[in-house]
């Protein structure tokens, strides 16, 4: 079956709170789901539930028509999750981080790595220990990782955080290219991302 992510009637409690109350959606190849909502609405919770990091009390997530729990490792090999904090080792350089971090998912050539870094304008500082990078520089390294993984499904939690104006634009371009290539993206955002309206669905959590 072609790429499609569907969530049915998700219910999630966090502590005392009923955070997701019957959330459902379908996103298919070439589509992006923008999740919005006030602080604490449940955007992060939703994305982590889709990724399989949180277990909903009710409802299921389907990938290519199958529940994601069934063949978890296949689902995960097609998915990339980038959360509030970038998963980087301060003591390794940006390039090394990607070599090891993405390397356990797929083999790639050094050229591909360079190309990904260049696309996120991270080449200049890719060979410095991540510890010495600014907040936005780290995000750019992490974004190069998203590209390099070539996953079909992107799960991005506030991807524009810490990025400057050119970075905001970059996010938009990257997602558009990903969708054009038949990928799927789910992004939690606070600032409007002007994506092509036809390819975008919005989900407002309350």
């Amino acid at each position: 079956m072609t790429a499609e992510l569907r969530a049915d009637n998700l219910h999630l409690w966090r502590g005392e709170q009923h955070v997701l109350r019957g959330v459902g959606f379908v996103v298919s190849a070439g589509q992006c789901l923008l999740v919005t909502g006030r602080n604490g609405a449940g955007k992060t919770s939703l994305i982590r539930t889709v990724a399989g990091l949180l277990q909903p009390e009710e409802g299921r997530v389907f990938w290519r028509g199958e529940p994601t729990g069934v063949d978890r490792s296949r689902f995960h090999s097609e998915t990339y999750y980038l959360g509030h904090d970038a998963p980087l080792k301060g003591d390794l350089t940006g390039a090394e981080n990607l070599r090891f971090g993405v390397g356990i998912r797929r083999r790639f050539l050094p050229d591909e790595l360079r190309a990904a870094l260049a696309r996120t304008a991270a080449s200049d500082f890719a060979d410095r220990p991540v510890r010495t990078l600014s907040a936005g520089q780290r995000r750019r390294i992490a974004l190069a990782g998203v590209l390099l993984t070539t996953a079909t499904l992107w799960l991005l939690d506030e991807p524009t955080t810490n990025l400057d104006a050119s970075g905001q634009e970059l996010i938009k371009t990257l997602i558009e290219a990903h969708l054009a290539a038949g990928g799927i993206a789910i992004a939690a955002i606070h600032h409007p991302l002007e994506l092509d309206a036809r390819a975008t669905t919005r989900l407002e959590l309350a």
Binding site: A3, A51, G52, L53, L54, Q55, S73, R74, F75, H76, S77, E78, T79, Y80, Y81, G83, D85, A86, P87, L88, K89, G90, D91, L92, E96, R99, F100, G101, G103, I104, R105, R106, R107, F108, P129, T150, A151, T152, A181, G182, G183
Partner: protein
């Protein structure tokens, strides 16, 4: 889209071990720390106890093993901690690769970096405690195998305490009861080695523990880590 060549388990393990070794060698000071800690603890005893070598030799197996155990425990805390904090573990769990296998690779490199060096320097401490030179092979062998078993068992505890702030002491608590058999047989093997008696039997038992740990611990650790990530 999901293109590129797929990766073999060996490649995954190699990358993981290489990453950990590289991280460790980035900070050489860290590499020697478990060793120094071990050496220091073994020198503390004579200070707190008595400086007579004959009496020290009697307690040598106990001192060596307790020092090794503590040094392992201290190091264990960092087995998964950093990776959990910076999100690497989350990425492991979401990588589509076997988490069990990834964690085994991590545990192995942890042993390479902490347990093995400890066994290698043990003769220095043993010498300071009055152990004869001829007994060293037994001391080293028992510590090498024992520390491997300790790392494996510790991996379970390290996984379980992930969600717990300041897990360090709790980790020790969880691991120590499981580590007691290793301590007993290890100290026994060392004692026999020091007395120049055959120490094969306890050593085999130690190896048996290591094999048991090898098959079970990574599975349990993976389950523990999955829970810790929620």
């Amino acid at each position: 889209m999901t293109g590129g060549q797929s990766v073999s388990p060996w490649h995954v393990a190699r990358l993981t071990v290489e990453r950990d070794l590289r991280l460790a060698f980035r900070r050489p000071a860290q590499l020697v720390q478990p060793i120094l800690f071990f050496l220091i603890v073994t020198t503390l005893f004579p200070l707190a106890l008595s400086p007579e070598l004959s009496r020290l030799r009697d307690v040598a197996p106990g001192v060596l093993w307790v020092a090794a155990l503590l040094s392992s425990l201290l190091a264990l805390e960092f087995l998964f901690r950093d990776d959990a904090q910076d999100g690497t573990l989350e990425q492991f769990a979401l990588s589509g690769q076997s988490l069990t296998w990834l964690l085994f690779a991590k545990t192995f490199s942890h042993w390479l970096l902490t347990g093995l060096p400890l066994a290698v320097v043990a003769p220095i401490s043993a010498g300071a405690l009055g152990v004869d030179f001829g007994s060293m092979p037994g001391v080293v062998a028992s510590l090498a195998i024992g520390s491997f078993a300790l790392s494996l068992i510790g991996a379970i505890g390290a996984g379980l305490t992930l969600g717990v702030q300041r897990g360090g002491v709790l980790l020790s608590l969880l691991t120590l009861p499981l580590a007691v058999p290793i301590l007993i047989f290890g100290a026994r093997a060392t004692e026999l080695a020091i007395k120049s008696e055959p120490y094969g039997a306890p050593l085999y038992l130690l190896a048996a523990f290591a094999v048991l740990g090898l098959t079970l611990a990574p599975l349990a650790a993976a389950a523990a880590v999955r829970i810790g990530l929620e």
